[in-house]
Symmetry: C2
Subunit: 305 residues, 2 copies
């Protein structure tokens, strides 16, 4: 049976002390079956963002271990940084990649949340697809007022954690754990210097403007390139395939005689999202991802582990 | 450093005796670092085709071991089958997939050929990119008259093996070893029942008709579907990308007002060949294959081995 593959992007409230950052990522380097794609510390944000992929179990084990180390070094009472946060280990999202459903990822997040509280005594809020209260699907609702405000307001039933007593951990605060879809950053550059065209198209393509449900986007000018850009996040490529977004923008831009100069995929993209577009444009019938040599090889390598 | 990845598709002259077939593929299942994608035995052809991928060293080790087993069980003097062949182990092609050049695959094939002869005493002919004589790039030149004729003609300098004495192995015959590009089977179905349109387009798209250098193709009718098909092999997708072939056919078919119904990728395809087309249609600038989550994961998994 093909093994489950998830992505996990834990965010820690430490972006300045190199030794602490290295200590936190150490478990991700050591844990077999947990693959560390990338980690980026931002000094202004005072935040560390880690990208992991692999099977659920080793990822959960490594995240717990890294969290244990983070709580030893980070005191939220003295922490300062530009990025909103409520805890030393601020957010832990789990994302399904293959052979695992969103429902299973939600279950995973919730089981992990219980274990996390039991072992670390840091209270947990569930967000996005794992939210237990509808308003908590939105991270900003949970993080409102940040650590400083939540420390006081946590006793208010409206702000009780989903797991744990209604009080924050004295130094580590609280942690938001959840499950969410893979987010693709996709930008479309247009052959014009008129930023209003990009802004108008952004409005039309995004969910809030009546466009695609899974698209968030803004229009901006690329001064140096002499182009404008529709900069987007595709938050559910299963529902809203990249090629549909691109062809929609092409159609809208044609209204002003404007063409597409090029596009950018920023950061990671799951193979399925690219295959989806290749299948459409190449009109391939009955394509099976395991026809892709590297995906088949990955499957075989993961099976033998 | 990213590890080298090759494909290897050894062909053995046994497609009927199940126990022999299983004995031959056993080393491919056992050898660590050699991944068995598929093996298919054809009774009429009396031939076994095995698909492998992995690093060069474990693949060479496993192919040598499987060849040793094949030569113990197959006697070319009694072998019969519809497929042309000159030996118990008939052909061993090596194909570069990633982090390895064709030149390195040629070197690999020639080193393996020497080792193969030294250990098994089966003479070797080099073909395709590994050919030492220009006419031997073509497999059919080497296999002319098959085992039965070659057994006599091998003493003729024109037919001397590239490695070994000018005589065949008494039971195992000879083996053709070489390096070749990955071959993609790509079919385009047209919305018409007029097979002449498919035949005409096939002629125009293929190298022999003045079309793309890396395309071989024929036109045929798909009676049950009420369509016709341009059935192709793309023998070098680096030179001739799939999307160019498809758009060329679309353009030609438009001449008769005929449209494309769909396409088929038959068998395996390297990720690079799909990414190439996704990049073109989605107009993606500066795309790096390691942005694909699964390809990055494969890279990390292969590094830790």
């Amino acid at each position: 049976m093909a093994k489950q593959l998830i992505e996990c992007v834990p965010n820690f409230s430490e972006g300045r002390r190199k030794d602490v950052i290295e200590a936190i990522v150490e478990p991700f380097k050591k844990q077999k079956g947990c693959y560390l794609f990338d980690y980026r510390a931002d000094e202004d944000h005072n935040r560390l963002v880690v990208s992991l992929a692999g099977e659920p179990q080793p990822i959960c084990d490594a995240v717990l271990e890294a969290s244990r180390i983070a709580m030893q070094h980070i005191d939220m009472n003295t922490h300062q940084g530009a990025h909103p946060r409520i805890g030393a280990i601020d957010v832990i999202p789990f994302t399904p990649i293959s052979n695992i459903t969103m429902e299973e990822c939600v279950e995973l997040a919730r089981k992990f949340g219980e274990r996390y509280y039991n072992e670390l005594k840091i209270p947990v809020y569930y967000y996005e697809e794992a939210a237990l209260r509808p308003e908590r699907t939105r991270l900003e609702v949970i993080r409102k007022g940040q650590y400083e405000a939540l420390k006081e307001e946590v006793t208010n039933p409206e702000r009780h954690p989903d797991v744990g007593e209604p009080k924050l951990h004295p130094t580590a605060g609280a942690t938001v754990i959840g499950a969410r879809k893979f987010l693709i950053a996709f930008n479309v550059n247009l052959n014009t210097t008129d930023v209003n065209i990009a802004k108008t198209i952004a409005k039309r393509v995004r969910a809030s403007g009546g466009g695609f449900t899974a698209v968030k986007g803004i229009g901006l000018a690329l001064e140096e390139k002499g182009l404008v850009q529709v900069s987007m996040n595709i938050v559910d490529y299963d529902k809203t395939a990249i090629y549909r977004v691109l062809e929609f923008i092409r159609m809208e831009a044609a209204r002003w005689g404007v063409t597409i100069n090029g596009t950018e995929v920023y950061g990671m993209i799951p193979a399925a999202a690219l295959i989806q577009s290749a299948e459409y444009y190449l009109q391939i019938d009955d394509f099976d991802p395991s026809q892709v040599l590297e995906l088949k090889l990955l499957e075989l390598m993961r099976e033998e582990d």
